[in-house]
Amino acid sequence: MSLRVGVVRFPGSCDETDALDACAMVTDAELLWHGRTDLDGVDAVVVPGGFSYGDYLRPGAIARFSPVMKAVADFAAEGGPVLGICNGFQVLCEAGLLPGALLTNSGLRFLCKQVDIIVENPSTPWTAACEAGERLSIPVKHMSGRWHADEATVAQLEADGRIAFRYAPGDNPNGSTADVAGVCNEAGNVVGLMPHPEHAVDVLTGSADGLKLFASILKGGDRVGAAN
């Protein structure tokens, strides 16, 4: 039986179909409208990029109160694999499912560029198909991608191996603390990152490195399905 991944769609999401296509390249996938209060029994959840609720107030601040987010939080608490990409990362941080917060880029510009990121923690369900230290070429496109947490939190995350991805040396595009591109929760099942792996799934458009994150969900079998 193949796994089924649910991709959340908020009003203002814009990367949910790319995320859906990327998931569908490795397994079954379906969209989950933000107004639903259940996850249709999916085995993993992707919270995609975009501008949920117009990014009003702060990116992710309103989306975190969507009905579906209560179900996502419960799913995450039970060990279900959740991946937040870009705006989805912002939503998960605002929801308190991931540490830190995302601030306006230090250069005050919207960024759209290919960057290299390093896989720091290959033991999450979203990085299991990667090697530690592996370099992935993946695009970023965001205005508020400067991840921030206080010093004590960063030190704790470093010690616990919870920095999932880092921008390659010299490739930090947004002023993110400690070059952090993505982090995971304490249990490792919730991962968020600013770069867009769903936009890097075919060499025709520059890189297929992003596919590894979605393929990981099949390899990380020990964690997948833990919620069911």
């Binding site: 107030l57 702060r58 917060a101 250069g107 400067r146």
Partner: protein, 75 residues
């Protein structure tokens, strides 16, 4: 009751908006202005102001990166 909530970037967090405005000032002839910080102002009408603290912590501010200050305006 009318209320204002002032939301500011926490001290020590890079505030590129404030810095950019500050750097533009000398070119306009404004001298001696430092420590420019840019935040947000939320104005609202509230019947029970005791809710405001929780509202700020839950929604209006992200206390990891922002401080807030509530100002009440007596009618």
């Amino acid at each position: 009751m009318k209320a204002r909530v002032l939301i500011r970037p926490k001290q020590g967090i890079l505030d590129p908006q404030g810095q950019t405005v500050e750097r533009a000032l000398p070119a306009l002839g404004f001298e001696g202005i430092t420590d420019v910080h840019i935040g947000r102002l939320v104005e609202l009408e509230v019947s029970d102001p005791s809710q405001l603290e929780a509202l700020c912590e839950k929604l209006l501010a992200n206390t990891l990166i922002e401080d807030f200050e509530i100002q009440l305006e007596e009618d």
